[in-house]
Amino acid sequence: MNASAPFDQLASIPERIQAEVQRAIQRSIKGVEYLTTSGPSLGSTPKDVLSVRGTMSLYHYRPLADEIYRVPILIVMATTNRGYILDMVPGQSFIEFLLKRGYDVYMLDWTAPKPEEKGLRMEDYVLDFIPYCVRRVQEDSGEPDVTVIGYCFGGVLSLLYASIFHDGPMKNLICFTTPIDFREMTLFQNFSDRRYFDVDHLVDSIGNVPPEMIFSSFEMLRPASRAISQVQLWENIWNDDYVKSYRMFDRWATDTLPLAGEYFRAITKDLMWDNKLYNGTMSVGGHRCDLAEIKVPVLHAVAEHDHIVPYDAARHLIPKVGSTDKEEVILKGGHVSLVAGANAIRRLWPKLDSWLGGRST
């Protein structure tokens, strides 16, 4: 008899009791194993480090196809997330999907800024890190054109970059769940309500802003969710597959990066309070950021039930960019499942491939 057989399919009461006893034994053994082993290896698609500059890292993933498209892709990660969320495990990785479909993929990834990097400003991200990485991609690939994919706030940085460097070398722009109208970012608006939130005091006091302060809204909700998930884990700890999937989710949900203090101050004041990107008054380092200046093909993937970047915050991207070749894809699901849920694999990834393939030659 197998402890992993569904409980209600077991015929007799003795069999059920025996199965439950076996599960109890397995729980004890696996419970110890859980505490003494690490989780599954995430972000394991082979890659080379091209450059590391403090909080910024640039990777090149090794091609997995015999023939690749001419135009390389640079993925700009959100500054709060680690790049492995797009490269979960072999067979279930967005990066691996792109490589197998013949794309040459680079990633601009972030690590936690060090205390001496608290002075990094929006200018450093938009006018230095991204242009530097684009140049390195051009050098490494030998190609003049680059497609940029911006994930969440990486999409905002990519848009700011694209609006300033609108003469090139960006060939295509793809954004995932990218907010434009920050008034509609209801959770974060409430957290950063200027009547109560003293961003200057916070940044001047602690420098870099730890994730638990940025996402204290999430943290306050976590106890309930976490308690439930811990109970579910214990109930299913005899099941290796459940434990594996739990660990993948747990690492995703808890691994958030802090933000450089000055950068956080600019996000709060310019975007959350003054909504400058939506109003068309945003500038970075004296360069005006007018989304209408972006003329390259643009694809924007948004989630219908995204409570982190609600659709009302994201829907303005396509109308505001100056491109004629532009498209919005709306998927069911939330912020996270957009890039890793079943819909992402069935609909979004193939859609992105069919959109980008013809624009990558």
Binding site: I68, R70, D193, L202, S216, S217, M220, A253, V336
Partner: protein
Amino acid sequence: MADKGNDPWAMWQTMLGEMEKSFNTFAGKTMSSPEFSKAMNQAGGASAGAQKQMSEMMEKYLGGLNMPSRAQMVDMAARLQSIEAQLAEIKSLLMMQSGAAAGAPGAAQPPSPRPPRTKQPPREQQK
């Protein structure tokens, strides 16, 4: 078709969906009030001030014990990281140079030759 009950990815997707759903429900209810914002920011502000004071006190205390503080350990880690970064940069430049020199007579092949950039999309995707 894979058995959903034994497929870790399917389980993970289900878990993701459920967690996201419960988060969204809680979030919408709990955090839409100005009282919540006020209370949270008062707590946050107080904690930021306390954290700064505590950190300064610990620095002095550890200095007295002749022990490195967290900030000094972070500095040390930063120096190591900077050395690693320079090594990565040198490695990447060496790889680029060996690739460029590969065409020269007698030059060694680059470590991993890149596939040709000649791929064309399937006919239905062509722009």
